[in-house]
C-alpha cells in the first residue's frame, strides 16, 4: 500500500511487520522517531514484541545480542555517539556470529557537536564485522530493512542498515509499504541453530588461544565475502515479489558509454541522479551507487568502473590524516586495473551541510585539472584562520 510516511515511521512499520521478538533501543537524534514509532505500535497493540527501553546504547546492543543468542529475532536502532558507544558490542556480536539487525540513522560524530547527517558513525565501525547497507531513499530503507532480517538469518551475520539522518529519517515520502502477508512469505520465522537452549546447552563466547584465533578471523572474513551473493540473491527474491530492487551490492545509473563516473552512497545518490537528469552536463556521467559497503564489492566495482577515464568518489566522512574511507578503499580495489580510471576523492556534506544539485557540474569541472589531493570539496577555507587551513 502506498502511503506518505516520514522515513522513521516507515522504518518502524517495516520493522514491525518483520515480527521482531525483542526490540531494544535508546534514544538519540535522529534515530528517535524510529524508536518512538515502534513504541507507539507496541502501545497500540499492533506490534507484539519485548520492547526493552535500555539505559544506554551499550545495553541496547547487548540486549539484542542476548536476545538473538537466546533464539529471538532482535532489532535496534541508533546513531552517531550511540553507534560509538555500542562499538565494543558490535564487534562482539559479529564475532559471535549472531544475526541481528540495526538501523543506523547516520549522523556526524562529536566534537564539535553536530546532530546532523554524515557517515562518520557507520564508517568509524566499518571494521566491526557487520554487513553495512546504504539506502538511497525511504523506499529503499524500508525494503532493505526487510531484506536485512533475511540476510542476517541466512548468513548468521549482523546487518546494519544505514540511512541518512534527517535527510531520510525525517522526510515525508510516499512509500509502498509491503503488506504483512507478503513479508511473512518472504521472511520465515527466526531460526538460529546455535541458540542458547537448555536442551542443547552450548557455551558461546569461549576464550580462544593463538592456535585458533587466526582461523576464526579468517572464517568471519570468508563469511562476509560469501554474504555478497546472499545480499544479491535476497534483493533479487525481493524484486521478484515486489518488483522493487534496492540495488544488490551496487548499481550503475546513466549512459553506459560515459567515461566519467561518480561513486557515492546513501541519499547523496538521489541528489546526483537528479542533477544528472536535470542539469546540462558538458560530458556524459554515470553514477555508481554503492549500496553494500560491507562486504566491499570489489569484483562488482571493477566491473562497474571498466572503461572509465575519471572516477569521482564522494565520501560523507573523513579519516583525518588519510582522506575519505570509501575513496581510499576504491583506490585500493582498483589498484592495478589497466587501464584504470583517474580517481578523485572528496568529502562532501559533512555535519548536515546541504549538498546542492550543482555540486555535480562543479565536480566534473575539476576533471580537466590534474588529480587533486583529497579534500572537503564544499569546505570554504576562508572561514578558517590561516594557520588552521
Amino acid at each position: 500500500m502506498r502511503q506518505a510516511l516520514e522515513g522513521s515511521q516507515a522504518i518502524a512499520q517495516a520493522v514491525s511487520r518483520c515480527r521482531p521478538e525483542v526490540v531494544a533501543a535508546y534514544p538519540i537524534t535522529p534515530q528517535t522517531h524510529i524508536v518512538e514509532n515502534i513504541s507507539k505500535l507496541v502501545a497500540d497493540g499492533v506490534l507484539d514484541t519485548e520492547l526493552v527501553s535500555v539505559e544506554s546504547e551499550f545495553s541496547a546492543a547487548s540486549v539484542i545480542l542476548g536476545a538473538a543468542a537466546a533464539g529471538a529475532r532482535a532489532y535496534t536502532a541508533s546513531s552517531s555517539q550511540g553507534i560509538l558507544l555500542m562499538a565494543e558490542v558490535l564487534f562482539n556480536i559479529s564475532g559471535l556470529r549472531i544475526p541481528v539487525v540495526m538501523t543506523c540513522a547516520n549522523r556526524a560524530v562529536s566534537a564539535p557537536l553536530s546532530i546532523w547527517n554524515d557517515h562518520a558513525d557507520s564508517m568509524a565501525v566499518r571494521d566491526c564485522g557487520w554487513i553495512q547497507l546504504h539506502c538511497l531513499d525511504n523506499q529503499e530503507a524500508v525494503d532493505s530493512t526487510v531484506q536485512a532480517f533475511k540476510i542476517a538469518q541466512d548468513t548468521e551475520l549482523p546487518v546494519m542498515v544505514c540511512m541518512d539522518g534527517f535527510v531520510l529519517t525525517h522526510t515525508l515520502e510516499v512509500v509502498d509499504m509491503p503488506e504483512q502477508d507478503l513479508i511473512d512469505r518472504f521472511l520465515p520465522p527466526f531460526k538460529f541453530q546455535r541458540a542458547l537452549d537448555p536442551k542443547r546447552p552450548i557455551t558461546q563466547g569461549a576464550l580462544v588461544s593463538p592456535d585458533f584465533f587466526g582461523e576464526i578471523r579468517h572464517s568471519h572474513h570468508a563469511a562476509m565475502q560469501k554474504s555478497a551473493a546472499v545480499i544479491e540473491s535476497v534483493d533479487a527474491d525481493w524484486a521478484a515479489l515486489t518488483g522493487r530492487r534496492c540495488g544488490g551490492l551496487l548499481t550503475v545509473e546513466g549512459p553506459a558509454d560515459a567515461e566519467t563516473g561518480v561513486l557515492a552512497l546513501g541519499s547523496m545518490c538521489g541528489t546526483l541522479l537528479e542533477a544528472m537528469e536535470t542539469l546540462p552536463m558538458d560530458r556524459p556521467v554515470k553514477l555508481i551507487k554503492l549500496r553494500c559497503f560491507r562486504p566491499f564489492p570489489e569484483a562488482a566495482l571493477r566491473e562497474a568502473t571498466a572503461g572509465l577515464r575519471d572516477l569521482i568518489v564522494l565520501d560523507r566522512a573523513v579519516t583525518p590524516g588519510l582522506g575519505g574511507t570509501v575513496g581510499t578503499e576504491v583506490k585500493g580495489t582498483l589498484y592495478g586495473t589497466d587501464p584504470g580510471p583517474r580517481i578523485h576523492t572528496y568529502a562532501v556534506g559533512l555535519g548536515g551541510r546541504d549538498i546542492p544539485l550543482d555540486i555535480l557540474p562543479d565536480l566534473v569541472a575539476t576533471l580537466d585539472k590534474p588529480v587533486a589531493p583529497f579534500g572537503v570539496f564544499d569546505a570554504d577555507l576562508e572561514k578558517l584562520a590561516p594557520e588552521d587551513r
Binding site: 525483542v22 547487548s62 545480542l65 542476548g66 536476545a67 529471538a72 537452549d197
Partner: protein
C-alpha cells in the same frame, strides 16, 4: 503386567540406577569406575576440569549456585576469571546454555535473553554472573538498568574484592587498606585509601524483590538464597564473598576459614533484603576480632608491622568498620541460634543440618 515382568523391570531399573541387586540372582551393576561422576546426586552445572587456581572461592561459589539453580537456566557471564577458567576453547566446564559477551554487559545480555524467553513464553530462568569488577565497577550501569527494568534475572556477583583476572588490581569492592597491585602498601600509602563500596545499599535503592549477601563459608545459606531468588519473579541479586587465595595471599586450603572469619568478624555481613528493606540477617554468635581475619591474608600483612603506628590505626579502622556493620544490621545475636554464624554450618550424618 505379570509379577515376573515387574520383577524384571525392577531389576533393570536397579541396574540402571546403580542400586545393589535385590537378590543375588539378579545381575549386579557393572563396575562404575569414572562413571560415578555421571550419577552424582546433584546437578553438575559446572563440571570438573576447569582451570581455577587451587582452593578458588569463586569456582566453589559458582558450583554451589549452579547446583541450586538447576538445569533449566541460561547464563550470561561477564569477562573475568570465571569466564576464562571455565571456557578455554574447545573446552567448556558448563552444562547449561552459557554466553560470554563482554566485561560490562552481562546484565544487559541477560536482559536480552530474558526478553527472548518472555517473547517465546519459555520459563527458563536467566542468570547473570560477574565478578566484583564487572559488577561494582564497569558493569554497574547495565546492572542498574536491568534491575530497574524489572527483568526476571538472577544476578550473582562473585566478590573477590579486586581485579584478579588481570593481576589483582584494586576495584571499588577492595576493602580499605588492602594491598593490591594498584594500591600497594609502601612508605607513603597503607594499601587502598578508599572504602569498599556499599553495593548492597545501592542495589537496595532499586527496591527489587530480593537481594542478599552470602559467603562460600556457608554453602547451605547460599543454596537457600539461590533457591529463594530462583523462585522470585523479577530481578534478584546475590553477592557472594569468594576468597581468592592468590589475590588475598592465603593458602588454598584455608579459603573457607578466611571466608568464615570475614563473616564472623562483621566485615562481610550476611543480610537479605526484600524491596530494599532488610528482612533477615545471619546473627554473629560471637564476633571475632577483625585482626583474626586480617592476619590470615598477606594483602593485609602491612597492617601487622608493629613499628608502624599507621598499621594499628588502619587495623582499628577496619575493626570500627566491622563494628559499624554489626550495629547497623543488628548482627549480634541475643542468644545461640541454630541459624547464626556458629549454627548455620552445623553438620550431621547425611549432610548439613539446615
Amino acid at each position: 503386567m505379570t509379577d515376573t515382568s515387574n520383577a524384571t523391570r525392577l531389576a533393570e531399573l536397579r541396574l540402571k540406577h546403580g542400586r545393589p541387586p535385590a537378590s543375588p540372582a539378579e545381575p549386579s551393576a557393572p563396575p562404575r569406575d569414572k562413571d560415578l561422576r555421571k550419577s552424582q546426586p546433584r546437578f553438575r552445572g559446572l563440571e570438573a576440569g576447569h582451570r581455577a587456581c587451587q582452593g578458588c572461592g569463586e569456582a566453589l561459589a559458582t558450583r554451589l549456585v549452579m547446583e541450586s539453580a538447576g538445569p533449566d537456566v541460561m547464563i550470561a557471564n561477564a569477562t573475568g576469571c570465571l569466564e576464562v577458567f571455565t571456557t578455554p576453547w574447545p573446552e567448556s566446564a558448563w552444562r547449561v546454555p552459557w554466553i560470554h559477551s563482554l566485561f560490562e554487559n552481562a546484565a544487559a545480555v541477560a536482559a536480552g535473553m530474558e526478553s527472548a524467553m518472555k517473547a517465546k513464553g519459555h520459563r527458563t530462568k536467566v542468570l547473570a554472573f560477574g565478578g566484583d569488577g564487572g559488577t561494582y565497577d564497569i558493569g554497574f550501569q547495565s546492572l542498574s538498568g536491568m534491575l530497574e527494568r524489572y527483568h526476571n534475572v538472577l544476578y550473582v556477583c562473585y566478590d573477590n574484592e579486586a581485579y584478579m583476572n588481570t593481576g589483582i588490581q584494586r576495584s571499588s569492592s577492595t576493602p580499605h587498606a588492602a594491598s593490591t597491585t594498584t594500591s600497594p602498601s609502601g612508605k607513603a600509602r597503607m594499601g587502598k585509601r578508599h572504602l569498599k563500596k556499599d553495593l548492597l545499599s545501592i542495589i537496595a535503592a532499586h527496591h527489587i524483590p530480593y537481594a542478599a549477601s552470602a559467603s562460600v563459608a556457608y554453602p547451605t545459606d547460599i543454596r537457600r538464597k539461590v533457591r529463594h531468588a530462583m523462585e522470585t519473579e523479577g530481578p534478584t541479586f546475590i553477592v557472594i564473598h569468594s576468597p581468592c587465595p592468590l589475590g588475598w595471599g592465603h593458602d588454598g586450603s584455608v579459603t573457607i576459614e578466611v571466608a568464615r572469619k570475614a563473616v564472623q568478624c562483621g566485615l562481610f555481613p550476611l543480610v537479605e533484603l526484600e524491596r530494599g528493606e532488610v528482612c533477615n540477617v545471619m546473627p554473629i554468635r560471637q564476633p571475632q576480632p577483625v585482626s583474626e581475619y586480617l592476619k590470615l591474608q598477606s594483602r593485609f600483612r602491612h597492617l601487622f608491622n608493629d613499628k608502624d603506628p599507621r598499621a594499628l590505626e588502619e587495623r582499628q579502622h577496619l575493626q570500627a568498620l566491622a563494628d559499624h556493620n554489626i550495629t547497623l544490621f543488628n548482627l549480634r545475636g541475643d542468644q545461640a541460634d541454630p541459624m547464626d554464624t556458629a549454627g548455620m554450618d552445623t553438620v550431621r550424618r547425611g549432610g548439613p543440618v539446615h
